[in-house]
């Protein structure tokens, strides 16, 4: 059964069409990497999955629930989908501990004890237990992003969305975040990742989606995508040749 199913989704900003007839799905336990040039609509697509971006046409189902349906309880649905942002977006006025526990308490109704236990478990997993009492502004970018991943995991999500999680990081900090993501993928988490980290894609992705100007141009297995370059579209070849050159 597919965990995330995107069917014929189109989206416009006024006159400008950002997504055109996008269709794809992510099965349970699958890791799908979405790549493509700037402005191709990949971030917009991933944000339609938890309804951070509305769309005008098509349907999206997450675990069988329609995202576009006006009757859907969006906060409840979003609480089940973890999301990691390019700029971390930890809550800067709250300590790391509070960042990890606040949604568990306020949204899932967990007790402080339970929320703390869960939060600390995941903080430990991303290797930052010693920083529990600090504030986001006191951590490095890489550390903040790991906390952001822990914050999402503490909600026991059924799937995780990553929106360019390493793009705002210093080069030295990219790996510490990717390591956490690789581990997560290997444990069987369902993941949809917008990223240009092709090394990550090669290592853990099941499928790769390539987007250009709002269209899904390629949607194939990792082996097909990287192993059979001749069968790729011109646009994808061009893109890959540029980012794989160095």
């Amino acid at each position: 059964m597919s965990m995330i199913s995107i069917k014929n989704v189109s989206k416009w900003y006024g006159e400008f069409q950002v997504l055109t007839d996008c269709t794809t799905k992510v099965s349970k336990g699958e890791v799908v990497v979405v790549c493509g040039p700037s402005g191709s609509g990949k971030s917009t697509l991933i944000k339609t999955v938890n309804a951070l971006e509305p769309f005008q046409k098509g349907e999206i189902f997450v675990d069988g629930i329609s995202v576009g349906d006006a009757k859907t309880d969006l906060p409840k649905l979003r609480a089940r989908i973890g999301m990691v942002f390019q700029n971390f977006e930890l809550f800067p006025h709250l300590s790391i501990t509070e960042n990890l526990t606040i949604a568990q308490q306020r949204v899932l109704g967990r007790s402080l004890d339970e929320a703390m236990q869960k939060g600390m478990h995941y903080l430990d997993r991303v290797g930052l237990k010693a920083h529990a009492g600090k504030f986001p502004g006191q951590l490095s970018g890489g550390q903040q992003q790991r906390v952001a991943i822990a914050r999402a995991l503490a909600m026991d999500p059924i799937a995780m969305l990553f929106d360019e999680p390493t793009s705002a990081l210093d080069p030295e900090m990219v790996n510490e975040v990717l390591d956490v993501m690789v581990e997560l993928a290997q444990e069987g988490m369902t993941m949809m990742c917008v990223t240009h980290e092709m090394g990550f894609a090669r290592k853990v992705a099941n499928r790769v989606i390539f987007m250009d100007r709002g269209h899904i141009v390629e949607d194939c297995s990792k082996d097909e995508f990287f192993g059979n370059p001749d069968a790729r579209s011109e646009r994808a070849k061009q893109f890959l040749s540029k980012i794989l050159q160095h």
Binding site: N50, L74, A79, F85, F91, P92, V107, L108, G137
Partner: protein
């Protein structure tokens, strides 16, 4: 200047009971604080609600708040006070009118008018600051708040407002001081706050210079203390690594 300063004037009897003129100033200061503080609390509550409304996706709510701001910001404070004190009571339901005009002590009805006036006037200014505070936050903050499952109210309560208020403490401090200074308009409808007592002392004693010098000093010290209070609040809520807070 050939003037014989007489600072002892404040310790002279007013001729009313055992009061000295200094007592008038103390009582005036009390009214100034009572007017400004109550009006400030109301302004903060109404202004915050309006400020949030201005940032809501709901167009009706946003334009109501915008209209409110334009109305209350573009009419002089003194005009607003006269409207609240002289005009509005005439349009109240009859029972309320009798109560407001006849049953209430004149001081109380003046007090109510000036508090309502200052609160609504200042609310428009607080609204704009709350709005800018919220809009100054990165867009990703609301996205992150929604992504963890917060509803709109929780997003404002737990994520947006705690940050916005920290950002706007300095301009809010100005408004806090302004409301104390603006409270002097109350003297024009007969409420015996600090300025009214000063004028009265000047008239009774003919020591105008001393009276206004003392009033100036009292306003100055009062506002300096309020500024001190607000910077204490600012330090108290400062978060390490956020907006200039030391790491």
């Amino acid at each position: 200047m050939n003037y014989n300063w007489d600072w002892n004037v404040f310790f002279k009897s007013t001729g009313i009971g055992s009061e000295i003129y200094l007592d008038w100033f103390i009582s005036g200061l009390g009214w100034t604080i009572a007017v400004a503080l109550v009006a400030w609390i109301v302004a903060l509550i109404i202004g915050s609600i309006l400020g949030v409304m201005r940032t809501l996706p709901n167009k009706a709510a946003a334009s109501f708040a915008a209209g409110y701001v334009e109305l209350f910001r573009n009419v002089p404070l003194l005009v607003q006070l006269f409207v609240w004190y002289f005009l509005v009571p005439d349009y109240l339901p009859e029972q309320t009118q009798i109560w407001f005009k006849q049953e209430l002590a004149p001081t109380t009805s003046a007090y109510i008018s000036v508090v309502v006036c200052l609160a609504l006037f200042t609310a428009a200014r607080v609204c704009e600051q709350v709005r800018t505070g919220i809009q100054a936050l990165p867009k990703g903050q609301s996205a992150a708040a929604l992504a963890v499952g917060f509803n709109q109210a929780q997003m404002y309560r737990h994520v947006l407002l705690p940050q916005a208020f920290r950002i706007i403490i300095p301009p809010l401090t100005s408004e806090f001081l302004n409301i104390f200074k603006n409270s002097s308009v109350a003297s024009l409808i007969g409420l015996m706050e600090l300025l009214a007592q000063t004028k009265q002392t000047a008239e009774f004693t003919a020591n105008m210079f001393e009276a206004f010098t003392l009033a100036t000093i009292i306003y100055f010290v009062l506002n300096m203390s309020l500024m001190g209070l607000m910077s204490w609040v600012e330090r108290k809520v400062r978060v390490p690594g956020m907006m200039g807070g030391a790491k």
